[in-house]
């Protein structure tokens, strides 16, 4: 589904991605983990074409992404921080994105699911962080696309919404979709992810299933395993 070869990205002198090779197979949920500033968001933005890589190639849905934009029809993206135009109303934003994508959408079902009806006539600038994130989720899930990229989808959600989100992610997976998630909430990752990609300082240090990760690092929980992976690397570096 996604094929990345030798991906390099520098912001000024700061090397964020240092030759990432990654293959995400079709179907299933992959979680990209890593400490803050390890390049998770940059990696996702490279796939989306929002960040232009210095070198390397990316193929998404069988098409090279360079200088192309049509492949984004196959991608639903949930940005990390829901920055929306603050003077638009929720309903206007949703219909605008529908108008841009020209695809059937099931926004109504999602609006009901996240109880957003009372907010439809409110301006986005007036919404709380959690409500904004719900709108963000509606926008990311309302189209039927084979690839979903979710950057920190749990941010600001209350427990009820979190349960709905997990259900939603699982049902998308059952439809055979490929889902890429970044998150710092290990319990969430443990619950939903099939595969873990561990990114540290712009390089992939681990890729494999949850069980593999735990057995390699001898950690009993994912949280512990990830911490051990991080400290092991640091010891290694020292």
């Amino acid at each position: 589904m996604i094929q990345i070869n030798e991906l390099h990205k520098k912001f000024g002198k700061n090397e964020v991605l240092g030759g990432v090779d990654l293959e995400i197979p079709q179907g299933g949920i992959s979680a990209v983990l890593g400490p803050n500033g390890s390049g998770k968001t940059t990696l996702i933005k490279c796939i989306l074409g929002m960040v232009i890589p210095n070198s390397g190639s990316i193929e998404a849905c069988g098409q090279p992404t360079k200088k192309d934009w049509k492949y984004r029809q196959q991608i639903n993206y949930l940005p990390q921080i829901a920055n929306f135009p603050s003077n638009l109303k929720v309903a206007e934003l949703i219909s605008m994105i529908q108008d841009l994508r020209q695809k059937p959408s099931d926004a109504d079902r999602l609006i009901a699911l996240f109880e957003l009806k009372p907010f439809l006539d409110k301006k986005l600038g007036a919404l709380s962080g959690g409500t904004k994130q719900k709108v963000n989720i509606v926008l990311a899930f309302m189209f039927d696309s084979p690839l979903l990229m979710l950057d920190e989808p749990t941010t600001g959600l209350d427990p009820a919404a979190l349960i709905q989100l997990k259900k939603l992610i699982r049902s998308e997976k059952e439809k055979g979709k490929t889902i890429l998630i970044t998150s710092h909430i290990m319990s969430f990752v443990e619950e939903v992810a099939d595969e873990i990609v561990y990114l540290l300082e712009g390089n992939i240090h681990f890729k494999g299933s949850l069980e593999d990760l735990k057995s390699i690092t001898l950690g009993t929980s994912l949280e512990e395993a990830i911490t051990r992976l991080t400290t092991k690397e640091q010891l290694h570096d020292a």
Partner: protein, 261 residues
Amino acid sequence: MMLKILKYSFFDLMRSRWSYIYFLFYLALGFVLLFLNNDVSKAVITLMNVIIILVPLIGTIFGVMYYYNSKEFTELLLAQPVKRSSIFLGQYLGVSVSLGLCLVLGLGIPFALYGLFKSDAIWDFSLLLVTGAFLTFIFTALSFNIALSNENKIKGFGYAVLLWLFLAIIYDGLFLLSLIVFGDYPLDVFSLGATVFNPIDLSRTLILLKLDISALLGYTGAVFKTFFGTGLGLLVSLGMLILWTLLPIWRMVHKSKRKDF
């Protein structure tokens, strides 16, 4: 797709208070000049002086402001299946078309009511509006360029104001100064070049050539006239204005394709 984004940007701006203020300002200016002055030709000259300074200023400020304020909107669009050039061209055209409309309608309505269509000044006046529209498109494009190259809002805003200050005021001063300092040398080509490299001077020359008021033409205008003659001079300056519009638009599209968001 570009038209859709143009539409959103356009309606977004049309809902903003500032567009109304800008429109009403021109409307008031048009009425005051015509009905107090009662002389269309004089009104056109006064308008020219206002337009040549004000239009670039508003184009620059609105352009940077809109770019920085719609950052979230842009990021949202970038993740959608939309070409980058469509996003930025759409937003740019949204801003410049709405500003251009404020100008053309704001001044056009009072002039039409005054009976412009029966007057001889209709061509002078139309040229004034066309030049004003060009200046809007040029300076909005320049400001988008500045904003694209500067992540920092304050810096971008500062550069934009400096650009306007330079082209609208300082440039003329430097130009005059160099004419005085190098007065012993032949300055025809130099002054032609200096005019062509400043869209504001270029617009002024263009309008004055059309109005054919030698007293106001100044040195450059006279050089223009002797160099090209009135007809060709008009064409050359109009062509340069088109170039002035296209180059910044081209650079804007080029720059936007290489930018990280």
